[in-house]
């Protein structure tokens, strides 16, 4: 039986991890490669880098980080942030990433998702969707790191992205992100029920039960979290043990 995945996400700016960390064993807590290696050792099912650099110089550092990570981390690696073209996707894959996450560029040019999926396979293309609640029980898609409303219905958008060849959806609730009060479970459930590709729930985790809720109540295939792991509140191993107690299938290493 396929197990549910736990994916720690590292926000990287100009080659450094932003949001602190209290991994005491690290020589350089700001080094994304060291952090990815530590998560790998803890048994993370995948690792995700989100590049939030604003400048081209900052962005160029992500390729080096990806290739240095691929040298020593033998677990799946997803990379997103600032991906604009099929060439960007290819550069990251050649550097050693397995899956590339596309967000704003997919909104500007939905056919980019089809072109990238045809070239590299659906399994390599993740579409990241940042969604925010509207008053009427639906959700709207936001771009540019959640700053710009796009007037797109999140449900229709996710269905379209799956049809265009996305192999997976990374679904972030803008309302919940940073609140530590749990995922937007109705959002997760709505999208999970509408598509046949895997969905990663993101945004709002504060406790281990939130992770379990995202998988159990939300029905997500994987859960992404940042601060709950970065600040040393919990290890990946503790999270897996908790999920197993809640009856969810997980890989214990």
């Amino acid at each position: 039986m396929l197990t549910r995945r736990i994916i720690p996400c590292l926000d990287v700016k100009d080659g450094r991890v932003v949001k602190g960390t209290s991994f005491v064993q690290l020589r350089d807590a700001g080094d994304p490669v060291e952090q990815a290696t530590a998560y790998d050792a803890q048994g993370a099912d995948e690792v995700c880098f989100l590049d939030i650099s604003a400048s081209p110089e900052g962005r160029s550092t992500i390729l080096d980080i990806v290739s240095r990570t691929a040298d020593c981390v033998f677990a799946p690696l997803t990379v997103g942030g600032g991906v604009r073209s099929v060439d960007d996707v290819e550069r990251l894959l050649l550097a050693g990433a397995d899956k590339i996450s596309i967000n704003t560029a997919a909104i500007r040019d939905p056919a980019l998702v089809s072109r990238a999926a045809e070239r590299f396979g659906n399994q390599a293309i993740v579409v990241a969707v940042d969604a925010k609640r509207r008053g009427d029980g639906t959700w709207e898609v936001y771009s540019h790191g959640g700053r710009t409303p796009e007037g797109l219905d999140a449900l229709a958008w996710c269905v379209e992205m799956a049809a265009r060849g996305a192999g997976e959806l990374l679904l972030t609730s803008m309302d919940q992100d940073g609140t530590r009060t749990g995922y937007d479970l109705p959002l997760v459930r709505t999208i999970v029920d509408a598509v046949t590709i895997p969905v990663i729930a993101s945004g709002g985790v504060g406790t281990l039960d939130h992770l379990a809720d995202g998988l159990d109540i939300g029905g997500a295939d994987a859960v992404l979290a940042a601060s709950i792991f970065h600040y040393g509140h919990h290890t990946i191993g503790e999270a897996k043990a908790h999920l197993r107690e809640r009856g969810l299938p997980v890989r214990i290493t």
Binding site: M1, L93, G96, D98, Q123, T253
Partner: protein
């Protein structure tokens, strides 16, 4: 020297680094002459079956691969490197494979909505003991899969590992010097590295 055959550009760096970590002396190559000289070959591949067979043709790799396989060179196929050995795939097709293992490649058609396609993530292996490479993995170990199609060999005896996604499917085959897996050992942490170590160390044949 182990040749990691670059049929269809993608993430080969991870395979290269994992084989190196497993103690192998490997080069990534798209040069048929290098493939011909290799002691062992690894054929990784992700993406579309058709793009992969086109890559074999355009890079003039089909003939050298057929030669070394016929000569008995130990072969490790990963993902498309498994699927391409079969007669045909129904992906955007049917499309012809190398026809070295009898059978076909079919899409997952899970009956339940909860079972997603691509089959993506860590799943458990049931294995038949006795394979010189496959024995590196224990029954019940988890390995990383990412694929929408899976192989169905005509002869069930070639299947040495299975996993389950809405029904059992073939996760690895052995036929003479051919050993090939649907999952990604280069992405399967310790378990995957142990399989690569075994391929590097062993004679690679039955």
């Amino acid at each position: 020297m182990i040749a990691i055959v670059d049929v269809c550009s993608g993430n080969l760096r991870s395979v290269e680094k994992a084989v190196a970590a497993a103690g192998g002396d490997a080069v990534v190559t798209r040069d048929g002459e290098v493939v011909r000289k290799a002691d062992k070959v690894i054929v990784p591949g992700q993406g579309a079956f058709g793009a992969f067979t086109r890559g074999l043709a355009e890079r003039d790799l089909e003939a050298p691969l057929r030669e070394v396989i016929a000569r008995g060179t130990p072969y490790l196929g990963i993902c498309l490197g498994l699927q391409v050995l079969f007669d045909e795939s129904e992906e955007q097709g049917p499309q012809r494979g190398l026809g070295l293992v009898k059978g076909k490649v079919v899409r997952f058609r899970p009956a339940k909505h909860e079972l997603k396609v691509p089959h993506m993530g860590w799943n458990q292996i049931r294995r038949r003991a006795g394979d010189p490479v496959g024995d590196a993995i224990a029954d019940g170990d988890h390995v990383y899969f990412v694929h929408s199609f899976h192989v169905v060999p005509d002869d069930p005896a070639v299947t040495v590992m299975e996993s389950d996604h809405g029904g059992r499917f073939c996760a690895a085959i052995r036929q003479d010097n051919l050993f090939a897996v649907q999952f990604h050992p280069e992405k399967s942490q310790r378990v995957g590295l142990s399989l690569l170590e075994q391929f590097v160390r062993s004679s690679g044949r039955t």
